[in-house]
């Protein structure tokens, strides 16, 4: 059935976007703008592929991807939080470094057979027609992405620690005055972002296309960054946006194969066009932007000594 086939590929295409974006969302909610998502993603992809290739276990690969992303993001944390380097420049540098470093690490892995993560079907539920194969017969990354979005939403808006994290992102000076460890919290948020980007990368090299090739993130990190703004910093918005982008990407390929005569370059550019449109719409409503944008986003914090 073609609709189901299309939706199945949409899920695979959307999951890495959701994963990377939710991590960046938490990072930005804590006031740190990390433009290095693309770099952390490719590092996660190569880490995951190398570990899975060496051990034969996609699950160890997944953990390795997560760890690689988190550790790599520490470099960003150290430069921007401890040494107070410019976040935008450091983030861009992190992407460039990640692309180069992952290519170097992965040089001997190009063309090697990958390990594909099997799908994990939930008994009974996966037997439901149509919905079953779509929602209950997926790989671990899909379930994780939903769980992380739900968990993040709950954490940010239903827990005290979430409130503290948002406070740090809105006014680090006030939070500091209240005795909150701003730098510490930002480190954790940066690492969470790195871990999620690493997971997203692992999904690329273990599920999407179980192989390693240089720069295999191919711009998905940048789409994830746009998604955070698209979602105006709301976790469920990230999920929705991620699936919308995935659907547009897959939909345009099918439209072509169906012979629908829309220029394919336009269709390929559609996700970016949609982002710009949404940004324009959001920015029309200034109040809406201000409610959710972390007020201290991108601003360095130097505690008084």
């Amino acid at each position: 059935m073609i609709v189901e086939a299309i939706l199945l590929t949409v899920i695979t295409a959307s999951t890495p976007l959701v994963l990377a974006a939710i991590g960046e969302l938490v990072c930005e909610r804590a006031g740190v703008l990390n433009l290095g998502v693309e770099g952390m993603m490719v590092m996660g992809a190569v880490g995951a592929f190398a570990a899975a290739h060496a051990t034969g276990s996609p699950y160890l690969g997944m953990l390795a991807g997560l760890a690689t992303g988190a550790i790599f993001s520490l470099l960003f944390g150290f430069l921007t939080l401890t040494l107070v380097a410019n976040q935008v420049a450091t983030g861009l540098a992190l992407t460039i470094l990640g692309q180069g470093l992952s290519a170097m690490i992965g040089e001997s892995l190009v063309g090697r057979a990958g390990v594909k993560m099997p799908s994990f079907d939930i008994p009974l539920l996966s037997d439901i027609p149509f919905i079953g194969p779509l929602l209950f017969d997926q790989d671990l990354f899909f379930y994780l992405s939903i769980a992380i979005v739900a968990g993040t939403s709950w954490f940010l808006f239903r827990t005290r620690k979430g409130l503290v994290l948002r406070a740090v992102g809105d006014s680090h000076a006030s939070a500091h005055a209240l005795g909150i460890n701003v730098i510490g919290i930002r480190y954790l948020a940066v690492m969470f972002g790195g871990a999620c980007a690493g997971l997203a990368g692992a999904q690329l090299s273990l599920v999407y296309t179980p192989q390693w090739t240089e720069n295999m993130a191919a711009g998905r990190g940048w789409i994830a960054l746009a998604l955070v703004v698209f979602a105006s910093w709301r976790p469920w918005g990230v999920l929705l946006g991620g699936y919308l982008f995935g659907a547009v990407t897959i939909g345009q390929l099918h439209a072509q194969a169906f012979g629908i005569a829309i220029p394919s370059q336009f269709l390929s550019a559609l996700p970016y066009v949609v982002t710009i449109l949404v940004l324009v719409i959001i920015s029309q409503n200034r109040r809406m932007t201000l409610i959710n944008t972390p007020a201290a986003l991108g601003k360095p914090f130097v505690p008084d000594r």
């Binding site: 063309g111 690329l204 296309t209 192989q211 099918h254 072509q256 194969a257 220029p263």
Partner: protein, 358 residues
């Protein structure tokens, strides 16, 4: 002056080499390469680098290369660095290096330049390309013979003549054995994005395609074809490892014979600027082993290859009708190289459109 000295040196070396039965190194020629990708990318650039190594081994000359040179302002600096560092001949192996190559060449008239896949030349700039479409025609013959649904899938990168030519050749090949064959085309608008290529492959397979060809650079489509149990063709490199039971054959870029021929021409002073467009018969293009197909299909593929090599078969020979039904090539008429190099029409049986910028 330098070129005279070089010629003298080269002839002296050639004589010396002749005396020592060709074993001695011709140290005066240094061949340099400027690559757009990494030398181990498993595709386009790696094919050039393998040829470079073969050139070095065969002629015993010194070679050098710069990899990962982006097509932009940096390219000119990279090419100039090569020209200044004592290279006798510089091969620039990406379409986007055309203008930078010409600019640098104007500044260094004593250095020879060879630009891959370009169309502009100068006194010291030659161009070279490969007739990939010959291989794609053979792929089409195979696809037409083994496809049960009669629908082939083709993942295109960008709508440039090179790619359009491949799609048409594939369809013409398939049509020659199955007149009802259609080729569904999906444009990925990328040369290199495993994820998008995989998605394109899935979309095509979901829509009933049972044999897949690609003009993008990663093995992702091959992987998807293997996963879904259909057959596919490799591109630029042998992709058999990605689909041991899937790959039918692959078009291989084997540049070494050309590089050796041109460097020898520099050595004996016969190098001139020309536009080379070789194919299967010159060895610049070859086919990966024909596998995963019945013996009669394999025989037919080999026969087709032999006919192309002998010149008996030219893929773009009439009668050929265009997609919209208008006649293009009359019976027995063969498209000339100029037409092919600027090709922007799809032939009958191709299910897809060339995206226009209108």
């Amino acid at each position: 002056m330098k070129s005279l000295k070089l010629t003298l040196a080269a002839s002296a070396a050639a004589i010396a080499g002749f005396a020592a039965s060709g074993a001695s190194a011709q140290e005066d020629v240094k061949a340099c390469f400027v690559y757009v990708g990494s030398a181990t990318d498993g595709g386009w650039t790696q094919a050039h680098d393998i040829a470079r190594q073969e050139l070095e081994d065969t002629l015993g000359i010194e070679t050098a290369y710069i990899e990962n040179v982006p097509e932009g302002p940096d390219a000119e600096r990279a090419i100039e660095r090569m020209a200044r560092s004592g290279c006798t001949i510089v091969f620039t192996t990406s379409f986007g290096f055309m203008e930078p190559t010409l600019k640098v060449a104007a500044k260094y008239p004593d250095v020879k330049f060879e630009h891959a896949t370009g169309f502009k030349t100068a006194d010291n700039v030659a161009t070279y390309n490969s007739r990939f479409y010959e291989g794609r025609y053979i792929s089409g013959v195979i696809a037409g013979s083994i496809s049960e649904s009669g629908i082939g899938g083709y993942i295109g990168s960008f709508p440039i003549p090179e790619v359009v030519m491949g799609i048409d050749a594939f369809q013409l090949g398939a049509q020659s054995v199955n007149p009802d064959f259609t080729t569904k085309v999906v444009w990925a608008n990328t040369w290199f994005d495993p994820g998008r290529e995989a998605d394109a492959a899935k979309a095509l397979i979901d829509q009933g395609v049972d044999v897949l060809a690609q003009h993008t650079d990663t093995t992702a489509p091959m992987q998807i074809a293997a996963e879904r149990g259909i057959k596919a063709f490799g591109q630029a490199s042998d992709m058999i490892e990605a689909g041991p039971e899937t790959q039918l054959t692959a078009i291989l870029d084997t540049w070494a014979p050309y590089y050796i021929k041109r460097v020898k021409a520099v050595q004996d002073g016969s190098w001139t600027s020309e536009q080379s467009w070789d194919g299967l018969k010159d060895g610049i293009l070859s086919m990966a082993p024909y596998t995963n197909m019945p013996d009669d299909v394999k025989a037919l593929a080999e026969e087709t290859e032999a006919k192309i090599i002998s010149g008996e078969l030219k893929p773009f020979t009439g009668p050929v009708t265009l997609q919209d039904g208008t006649p293009w090539l009359a019976e027995g008429e063969t498209a000339d190289d100029g037409t092919l190099l600027g090709l922007n029409v799809l032939v009958e049986g191709v299910d897809g459109t060339i995206p226009s910028s209108e």
